[in-house]
């Protein structure tokens, strides 16, 4: 479980738009990075945005019910988790870091994908089916993944910035996504706070084109409603603003700049809600809204 001294992980990855150093003695973290971040550049002499360490628990928790701790730049923002969740903890911790660090971006909870330069934003309300739909759009319809969890909006350019990382899947969605052509699903983590959790790797084009931002064009609120048929309904800009605000991690801290950036974004997008009972229905509705096949 713990790597020998000579193989302890210390690597620096370009996880666009950031450079992240990861250090950990856990074999599971090394395996996670090798599986999901194998196509990332490993810059040798770059400025490091986030210096992350996943370390064994303190005191008795080194041996008894062993734990993993997440540290970023020597800050310890979370309580430790059971050691078998060290790898998903890296993803959760990196999400938290990107959302809470003041870096001049507006960050809100949504999946973002791009086609022909235009981006669709799928805000993430729990149970809405955002991640499954996001994986389906990547693997079945050829959309480029910008991010599955974090919409990163640059207030200066008004563009969405890509942060291609593993798509996080929960419970039933793991098997559904696993059957998509080209999907690579990693280790399953049982009994986490979110139930069973696994990740699907981003496509190579998502990593290779990560430096290209995308213009926000559609804002679509997915609503998974089994057995209810499927339909599209328009959402007013005012309502969309309030809903996005709820999903924003740092709009309040961004003050006037954040407010204006979201206003600009809403001025440029069509807002819809889609209700669907199956993945194929959802794909059809997205095609209808975006006029992209």
């Amino acid at each position: 479980m713990v790597l020998p001294e000579s193989r302890v992980l210390d690597t620096t990855l370009r996880i666009a738009p950031f450079v992240v150093r990861v250090r950990s003695p856990f074999a599971s973290v090394l395996a996670h990075l090798e599986f999901f971040y194998r196509d990332c550049e490993k810059p040798q002499k770059a400025f490091i945005d986030f210096d992350i360490r996943l370390l064994p628990g303190l005191g008795a928790h080194r041996f008894w019910r062993p734990q993993a701790r997440f540290l970023v730049d020597d800050q310890n923002p979370f309580l430790p988790l059971p050691v078998n969740q060290a790898a998903p903890m890296f993803e959760w911790g990196l999400n938290w870091t990107i959302a809470s660090r003041s870096l001049g971006f507006v960050v809100f909870h949504a999946a973002v994908l791009e086609k022909n330069g235009n981006a669709i934003i799928l805000p993430g309300f729990p149970g809405a089916g955002k991640s499954t739909l996001c994986a389906a759009l990547c693997h079945l319809r050829g959309w480029r993944l910008l991010s599955d969890e974090l919409a990163i909006l640059d207030p200066v350019s008004g563009m969405l910035i890509a942060n291609p990382r593993p798509i996080s899947l929960k419970n039933a969605s793991i098997d559904i996504v696993g059957q998509f052509p080209g999907a690579r699903v990693g280790e399953r983590y049982l009994d986490t706070r979110k139930g069973t959790v696994a990740h699907a790797a981003p496509n190579l084009d998502a990593i290779e084109n990560a430096s290209q931002p995308a213009l926000p064009r559609w804002l679509v609120f997915p609503q998974f409603a089994p057995g209810e048929g499927h339909q599209v309904s328009p959402v007013s800009h005012a309502e969309a603003f309030a809903l996005i605000g709820e999903q924003s991690f740092n709009q309040e801290r961004m003050g006037e700049i954040g407010f204006r950036a979201l206003c600009t974004l809403l001025g440029n997008v069509d807002c819809h809600q889609i209700e669907y009972g199956s993945t194929s229905d959802a794909l059809e509705l997205v095609a209808q809204v975006t006029q992209q096949d």
Binding site: K45, A46, F47, N76, P77, S102, G104, R253, G255
Partner: protein
């Protein structure tokens, strides 16, 4: 990055042009850990230094956050003023809020959280009730915590606003009632200056503002913000360094507040760390018979203050930090009371061992 390099770059922002990418990584991480990133960002911005794009994102982010916090603190001050104006009592802002609203150089780029105010002891009941009517509520509900603050400390238990989530610390004196020194809080209020545009809010006169900052640093057991506090003090002192009467007045005021030794210690530290032009005569006057002891204490702080993003200071620094921690408690409480307090807290911690609320100590 070690302390000397951090301070050098803080003093001479132009020298950052020589930094390698790795140097920038260490500089940003160290400054963030010392709670100085906002100030560093502001100084580089003012000096017009060309910063590479990657670290610039962190600096501009910190500058944005600090501007946002200054807006927030101004709004919070309006709310406090509107709530407390009817009491007709003076409400003196302290520390960060006073620097920002008093437009001191020390406030520029500074990041902070709570608002601290000083009020006359006799008005405490009135002020607490007005704050509660205005939407502030007690954060500490334990009976022991309430008693600890009210009987032994120098402030009401911190109060949080139910809607805005902002925190106010209401002080009625400068140091705990149990402390060895007894600064004259009445005099701070009497010499305070009204803030234009507010009905009840005031800020301390500059000498008191400086002495309060020094008193706080010299009595504080944790050194996480020590460099930031010393930078504040350096900025405050530098505004007056050229005025011939200033240093003498500062000395008079320090003696009046029963804080000569604390002020002497901080003057020595700020001179050593920031090359502040502090007159030797003033240090000698304030240190008096304790000069040797204060010099030894200065060396202890010199060893203890190590901004280290890896969080692994050398053993002698850890030892120095522990001594300063013990000393701070020693200064604030008589030994018998201290033992009672610490054992009571330890017992609370044991009986509440399952208390696993998520920690949240995120900086910029």
């Amino acid at each position: 990055m070690n302390r000397a390099s951090l301070l050098e770059l803080l003093k001479h922002p132009q020298r950052t042009t020589a930094l390698s990418p790795n140097g920038w990584t260490e500089f940003i991480a160290t400054a963030r850990n010392a709670n100085l990133l906002g100030k560093v960002a502001q100084r580089l911005h003012e000096a017009g230094v060309a910063v590479p794009a990657a670290p610039l994102r962190h600096l501009e982010g910190a500058r944005l956050l600090s501007e946002r916090q200054h807006h927030s603190v101004a709004w919070e001050a309006q709310c406090i003023d509107a709530t407390l104006a009817q009491t007709d009592e003076p409400v003196v802002l302290l520390k960060g809020a006073a620097y920002v609203l008093g437009r001191k150089a020390a406030g520029v780029g500074r990041l902070f959280g709570d608002v601290d105010v000083l009020v006359p002891p006799g008005s405490l009941g009135k002020i607490e009730i007005r704050l509660m009517a205005g939407g502030w509520t007690q954060m500490k509900s334990e009976e022991y915590d309430q008693r600890y603050y009210r009987e032994w400390m120098h402030e009401l238990p911190p109060m949080i606003h139910v809607r805005r989530g902002t925190v106010i610390d209401v002080h009625h004196t400068i140091l705990p009632l149990t402390a060895r020194s007894h600064p004259d809080a009445d005099a701070i209020i009497a010499h305070s200056i009204p803030l234009p545009g507010y009905r009840s809010l005031r800020i301390p006169c500059d000498e008191d503002l400086i002495i309060h900052s020094m008193c706080h640093l010299a009595h504080e057991g944790e050194l996480h913000n020590a460099l930031r506090d010393l930078d504040d003090i350096n900025s405050l002192l530098s505004e007056h360094a050229d005025s011939p009467d200033f240093w003498g007045q500062l000395g008079d005021r320090a003696e009046h507040h029963d804080l000569a030794a604390s002020v002497a210690l901080c003057l020595m530290l700020v001179r050593q760390f920031f090359d502040t032009p502090v007159p030797e005569s003033l240090v000698l006057r304030l240190a008096g018979a304790d000069a040797t002891a204060i010099r030894r204490l200065t060396r202890l702080y010199d060893v203890a203050i190590v901004p280290d993003p890896e969080g692994r200071p050398p053993l002698r620094s850890l030892a120095a930090q522990l001594l300063i921690y013990i000393r701070s408690h020693w200064l604030r409480m008589p030994p018998r009371l201290l033992v009672q307090h610490l054992s009571r807290k330890a017992w609370q911690r044991l009986t509440l061992a399952s208390g696993t609320s998520p920690k949240n100590k995120q900086g910029a």
